[in-house]
């Protein structure tokens, strides 16, 4: 069916929805609204992997600092500020635990996002190879049929 035929069928009007489609468009509109897209980000896995890596490094640093404080290498007792007080009281362990927790979460975030990227790549690769294989089989079948 050509464009001109279509326009004739539509009563010669400008291209627009077939009146019968209006309910479908309404359905489409409400379905799109229900998606509630938040804007998202381009390449979210890469962002996630970077965030995870940052947390991993930051957490490790906090844990390391906590260990040093615990050993008394940093800070001295008798100081007035709160941080030094805590350290002096031997609570450097809190920083160690906090740092390890951050590092653990960061590691998990990094692992999750890296794996997603890798598995996606793997899946796509498999699909392409599968198609290439099928094409080869089909080609071979055709060749044999012609022989």
């Amino acid at each position: 069916m050509t464009k001109s035929n279509r326009q004739q069928e539509a009563g010669g009007s400008e291209a627009g929805p077939d009146p019968g489609l209006a309910p479908r468009l309404q359905e489409f509109e409400s379905a799109v609204r229900e998606i509630g897209a938040t804007g998202g980000r381009a390449n979210p896995e890469r962002t996630g992997a970077r965030l995870g890596l940052t947390l991993l490094v930051a957490g490790s640093l906090v844990a390391l600092a906590g260990m040093l404080w615990r050993r008394g290498d940093i800070g001295a007792s008798g100081a007035n500020d709160l941080l030094t007080e805590i350290v002096s009281a031997g609570n450097g362990a809190i920083f160690v635990a906090l740092g390890l927790a951050i590092a653990l979460v960061g590691g998990l975030v990094w692992l999750r996002n890296s794996l997603t990227r890798y598995l996606r790549h793997w899946l796509i690769r498999l699909i392409y190879e599968d198609r290439a294989n099928t094409d080869r089989i089909v080609e071979e079948l055709r060749r044999k049929r012609h022989e």
Binding site: K3, L25, Q26, F28, V32
Partner: protein
């Protein structure tokens, strides 16, 4: 139906926003930006043909429209609602259907099994099969054949049937004519014309204008990741050769 009937029907739904609207869309793959600010819209029931040479960003544009590629800037709107960042499956379920270049069928499955894959959206298989075989009777004769062993045209018919089974509101067609004989292309575009007549909004991506001229309401030329020209299909087709050669 008279024009008055059509007008009153439209009045019930009120002013309709474009089914698809891209504004200043930038997108790409990793560090490589392919789209440098694409502006495009498809009205309800309209067929828009998007032309451009290899590497112009046509397929990437379809990827953005279908949610497979997230834009780094700009907005993608469906019926006036911004859908940046929406998941592809959510858009597909809502009514956006992409028929990709290379058809995207499962070559190791039979025609029937491929059609069965379309029932994910809750459509009964009998209905899917009925629609598919009504539109493309040739598929009925091939129902038990492996999809990979079909001819290029039949594979494209299968891909279209599977897409339409989901009752889409917006159809995105990527290089429908690729690798097909002109007669088959004409037959396929005949069907596309019928879909458009039924009110479906369609964005067609093609490298060569001739095959689409009969069905497109408007056409656009894309070069270097930007839409360079939008207008009547005939005038765009006439300017196409020069645009490809000049690169602007």
């Amino acid at each position: 139906m008279t024009r008055g009937d059509a007008d009153s029907s439209r009045a019930r739904v009120g002013p309709v926003a474009p089914v698809l609207e891209l504004h200043g869309v930038r997108a790409g793959y990793g560090q490589i930006e392919v789209l440098h600010g694409v502006d495009l819209s498809v009205a309800a029931g309209e067929v828009l043909a998007l032309f451009g040479p290899n590497g112009a960003g046509k397929t990437t544009t379809l990827g953005v429209c279908s949610g497979q590629i997230r834009p780094s800037a700009g907005s993608v709107r469906l019926m006036g609602t911004m859908v940046n960042g929406a998941r592809p499956h959510a858009l597909a379920r809502a009514g956006v259907c992409l028929i990709p270049e290379g058809r995207g069928i499962f070559p190791n499955l039979t025609v029937r099994e491929n059609l069965r894959m379309a029932t994910y959206s809750g459509v009964a298989y009998a209905r899917v099969e009925e629609r598919a075989f009504e539109q493309f009777p040739r598929l009925a004769e091939r129902r038990t054949q492996l999809a990979g062993t079909l001819s290029g045209g039949e594979q494209q018919m299968l891909a279209i049937s599977r897409g339409l089974a989901t009752d889409p509101a917006l159809l995105l067609l990527d290089e429908l004519s690729m690798g097909l004989a002109p007669m088959i292309v004409a037959e396929l575009y005949e069907r596309v014309g019928e879909m458009a007549a039924a009110g479906l909004s369609i964005l067609i991506v093609e490298q060569f204008a001739q095959s689409v001229l009969g069905v497109a309401d408007r056409a656009a030329v894309m070069l270097g990741g930007r839409v360079q020209q939008v207008g009547e299909p005939e005038s765009i087709a006439a300017a196409l050769g020069g645009a490809y050669l000049d690169g602007h």
